[in-house]
Symmetry: C2
Subunit: 695 residues, 2 copies
């Protein structure tokens, strides 16, 4: 079994990477358009490259220090010798996923704009292909990391299943650390540049969005690539790998060391890659298609993949786990369905086709304060459906997997639901990642002074992207909660496997004061983390505002278009500010579980993990949806309601949108990573806590 | 023992009520000032009375229905026959606390304004006396309810300690239901009127605050009384009674039915009344005192009471529990200290004497969006210290009470910490409740056209009130969390006492999926509740905005002061809107635990209670402190920084303040009640859940 499994998984990893490579080649065959377009795209590319290079330098120091720390721990027998290396590869592949995504995105933004000069359909093809490159790179690298390590540990080092799954959890920690750096750093960059460009350019100077006279305009476009693309790539790599390895770990526990518990999530993920590739071929439409037809084309691809995996998972579960466990299939299915439902709920609350966002636009009639209050309450109210969906998914996954008689099987079911939810990540990420490409293409069209209809087409692509991104967010956020729970259970198993650990973790009742206190502290962490990242965006944005104001004031002829602004300084400023600001939040995420463990002991850590997962899930949904609703309420007003662009209502909506920016693009998505990183760190430092905790 | 206890408690209840009565008489001897002042005060009184009368009518229907439901349950043996009656008395006394508070507040607003014509000190005396009436009415009625029921159940119906404490928990549910109606209804009224008056009056018409030409000005002042006074009175009655009866219930459990576990919290509360009365005598200062001296006078009173109770509690614990349990004293002390620390943290984050609020004012330089983001992140960050304080308090209270060897004793310690925290409520509430009186006095001074220095003095009193209110909030919020935890434990005990309940609640591990799902659902409830109440404020405020705009448009000569506005219509509108809007949130709070119980079973309910307590605590701190920081950042700018009143920075700060209004005065404080009401409802419907739950 293990040989087939390793071969299938590795083969699918290679397949995904080859597919990504071929797609990338196809994209590169398109023309970048006029010289000006090339030049603009070049500037964006340069800025994004410079940011990543400097970010990786800082991250390298962090990884170096952690490598030494883990090495020292290995020397004292607190972790296995594979841990430091696994940690590094996880971080490396996560970074690589972001890097490749950024490369292809910055290579295809001008190409998309140019393709849009011909037709909307052609633009979609280029942008969606770029998204596919990123999607399949992420899943390909993820599966590669998993399968290569598996082969190494199993066939070279001859470890048993428990040891293998234990070591594999470590590269999850590497991936999560890298993802958090990427999301937070990129998220601060993109929003600082965005807010800075908007506040001074649009509001004070009164020039349109993406106007070449705005000194922060290149930084703004760089931000889309380093935040929404590189950040998202690293993030989803982490989610994908995290869900698979946590399911592997629980599978080993559920089947008492038998490899089949590990085989299912790995082959399921591999199968998902194949289904996703087939799905991408369905994303095409006839020339001259309208926006609705394009959306249908995208949905056809994702729906097809989801349906095929839903069908194929049934014989897979039957074959891998044996017919006495065939009902586990419904756990996988529950995960898939839950992902779709959370996505639809997200769309309901944030799309201007539905009442919540339309009502939110109405509240702009009574001013800025009411639309801010309205957006906050839309976000808070929007937590209800996702919570119910996740709750039902947990119960279904647990009980269909036989949790009533065997808790380990039930918990394994919960982990498999997360894998099911992310199994078609290749294509869902493709539909998600093409959004920022289209956004950038729009910027280039504007700056290069292309005809109005090109901008209209890129806007159409962009708005299409918002709808598909909502679904993507549903999968990301739902899988984060389920994966974090699975990791919490892995932590408990890990503690039990350490000498003297079992009795220390015996009482996990919510009435145990250490669990209770852990719950409080854990639930507080996402709040503190969100506050830190919002403050970072605020500080970075203020420095951009000052710089842009300075340039408008000091560069003569800038407003008349006679002199060029100094784009590079703004990019540099954003880079420095965001890299400086990303460090504290990430260190908090790593230090907190160690500190809590050393003070409260293992039961406190479990409480902390549960508390952080629950409050993090709520806060992430709340912040993402508030931000999305404000964004689309603004767009709804811009489409001509409530007085349209420039009206008082529009001004109020712009404030709402600006408040929403760090909500939905910095703090909200970072929390998804935070809750998993907390678990990963706890697992890696488990032996330390068992041996040295106070309580 | 039980006789002494009953006599001491009843005697102190009477003492508190007599002291309140004498103080009220003293207040009434002051003059109401000019005829115009009397007329204005009369209008406010009329509006507040009308609101309460209509509110009580609606609440009466609710209580009638619940009485029948509980009666039916009693007939089927699902609750004891005392339950329906205990439920009614809890509601009645809670309502009475709010009513008396409102009566004295509306009787003393003009008197305070008039006293301020003479001196600041005289104004303080009247306002503080009014606050004292309310404070001692609340604690007096609370102790009366507790002691009379105790005497009845013990000496007339001859019940044992377990049965008594069980029945007493029921009047907690009555009190909490009433408190939620009062807080939500009053909170919506006050903020709808406030927002309506500000948005149209200050922003659109450009007239100052409390200008008699503003049609919503009377409604605004009525709002202070029905929200900040009547709402707060009912709320704190509930907190006070809740903390004592939950400690009684856990005391009975800890001492295996021995009455001494119940005696301690009751006598401790009674002793606190005496200390508080002594404290009030220290609140006086020489004529011509400045603001700092006045603050010192107030602090002297509260500090004295706190120190005396801290000293007196030691022999009390020794005597009541016996010397083998003397360390329980430190649990009481931990509660007292935690309350003070949370209050200080609140002040740090929300007072303009400290950096967070000053920095928040700075963010107004870059516009509305940045101050909104800044306020949200101040609030989120401000959760950290209270969480750590509560965490340490829980651990200390648990372990000093012997929780390591006997969990019941440890949990009893946590409940006693809440009682310790609220033991000096008589005087802390007095310093808290005088704020709205001073606020109203300022309104009357403005409307009656009194000299500038009167308004200055009432403003000084008001701002003094903000500082003391911060401390009061710390006590309210900290005790809510501890009491809710104690009630959760009481729920578990209650389930165990029901036939077939013990095995149903055996597995309370956080890895039990029903507990886990309960945690998710529970944590979601405060978010949904906050969203509902914010929406209610928004809708009610919009109707006020439309009415005020209509009056400005249709009543000729209104702006020139030649015609009177129609105050009554605005009051009526606020009344109708707030009463309509208070129903859904309250029903959600009552229906949720029953629904969760019937679906997920008892373990799900425990998860729900823990989740709601934790997320509710965080959300309440976040929302209250964000609101407080915006409010004071605005005041800081008004004091002359960042361009002062009328500047762009000030306009941005006004938006922040308006967003903060429902945060700090409607949603935030309501959540405190919500988390306790959820537990109370769960306890009352425990037998139903044990017998009829699905899982």
């Amino acid at each position: 079994m293990e040989k087939y499994m390793a071969i299938i998984t590795a083969a699918c990893a290679v397949l995904a990477l080859v597919f990504a490579l071929l797609t990338a080649k196809r994209v590169m065959n398109f023309s970048e358009g006029t010289d000006l377009m090339k030049k603009i795209s070049q500037s964006i590319r340069k800025g994004a490259n410079a940011f990543l290079k400097r970010q990786y330098k800082i991250v390298l120091i962090f990884f170096g220090v952690m490598f030494v720390v883990l090495g020292a721990m290995a020397a004292f027998g607190l972790v296995t010798p594979y841990v430091p290396f696994a940690f590094l590869t996880g971080g490396f592949f996560s970074a690589l996923s972001g890097f490749v995504g950024m490369k292809i995105a910055t290579a295809s933004n001008a190409r998309t704009a140019n393709a849009c000069r011909e037709s909307l359909n052609r633009g979609l093809r280029v942008a969606f292909s770029a998204g596919s490159v990123m999607g399949f790179t992420v899943v390909g690298l993820g599966l590669l990391d998993i399968s290569v390590w598996f082969i190494l540990l199993k066939f070279v080092f001859k470890l048993n299943a428990t040891e293998i799954s234990g070591a594999m959890l470590t590269f999850g920690m590497g991936a999560s650390s890298m993802a958090l750096f990427a999301r937070v750093g990129g998220g601060i960059f993109t929003k600082a540049a965005d807010v800075g460009a908007d506040l001074v350019g649009k509001v004070e100077a009164g020039i349109p969005e993406d106007d070449p006279r705005n000194p922060a305009v290149i930084a703004d476009n760089v931000g889309d690539n380093v935040g929404d693309v590189a950040g998202m790539g690293a993030d989803l790599y982490e989610s994908y790998v995290g869900s698979v390895i946590s399911a592997c770990a629980l599978g080993v526990a559920a089947f008492a060391g038998n490899i089949k518990g590990m085989a299912l999530p790995m082959i399921l993920a591999a199968l998902g890659v194949v289904c996703s590739i087939f799905g991408t071929f369905l994303v095409r439409t006839k020339e001259g298609a309208n926006q609705r037809q394009l959306l249908r084309a995208l949905s056809r691809g994702t729906n097809f993949s989801a349906i095929v995996i839903a069908l194929a998972a049934f014989p897979l579960v039957w074959f891998v786990l044996g017919k006495e466990h065939w009902t586990v299939y419904f756990a996988v299915l529950a995960g898939l369905v839950a992902g779709v439902l959370i996505g639809q709920a997200t769309e309901h609350y944030t799309s201007d086709s539905y009442k919540p966002t339309q009502h939110l636009a109405d509240t702009s009639e009574t001013g800025t304060a009411t639309i801010v209050i309205g957006g906050l309450s839309v976000g808070m109210l929007s937590t209800l459906i996702p919570v119910i969906v996740v709750a039902v998914c947990i119960l279904v996954a647990y009980f269909v997997s036989g949790g009533a008689n065997n808790a380990s099987m039930g918990l394994y079911g919960i982990a498999l639901a997360a894998v099911g939810m992310l199994s078609t990540l290749g294509i869902t990420l493709a539909t998600d990642a093409y959004g920022p490409v289209a956004d950038n293409a729009g910027g280039i069209a504007q700056m290069a002074g292309l005809e109005e209809k090109v901008r209209e087409r890129t806007d159409a692509l962009d708005s299409l992207g918002n709808t598909t991104a909502a679904t993507g967010k549903g999968f990301a956020i739902g899988s984060a909660a389920l994966t974090a729970l699975a990791l919490m259970v892995s932590y408990i198993d890990k503690i039990k496997s350490i000498e003297g650990g079992a009795q220390k973790i015996a009482n996990l009742s919510v009435t145990n004061p250490t669990v209770l206190v852990g719950l409080f502290v854990g639930a507080c962490l996402p709040f503190v983390f969100a506050a830190l990242t919002m403050n970072s965006v605020g500080r970075a944005a203020q420095s951009v505002v000052r710089e842009v104001r300075r340039q408008f004031r000091e560069i003569t002829g800038l407003m008349d278009g006679k002199a060029d602004p100094d784009y590079a300084t703004c990019v540099d400023l954003c880079t420095k500010a965001s890299l400086r600001e990303m460090i504290i939040p990430t260190l908090v995420a790593i230090a907190a579980p160690i500190a809590v463990g050393l003070i409260l002991g293992c039961t406190g850590v479990v409480g902390m993990l549960a508390g952080a997962t629950i409050s993090g899930f709520l806060l992430a949904v709340f912040m993402s949806n508030s931000g999305g609703a404000w964004d689309n309420a603004k767009k709804y007003i811009e489409s001509g309601t409530h007085g349209g662009k420039g009206s008082e209502c529009h001004k109020a909506a712009v404030v709402g949108d600006t408040v929403g920016d760090p909500f939905k693009d910095t703090s909200g998505p970072s929390i998804n990573i935070l809750i998993k990183l907390l678990s990963m760190v706890s697992i890696v430092f488990a032996a330390l806590v068992v041996n040295f905790s106070i309580l």
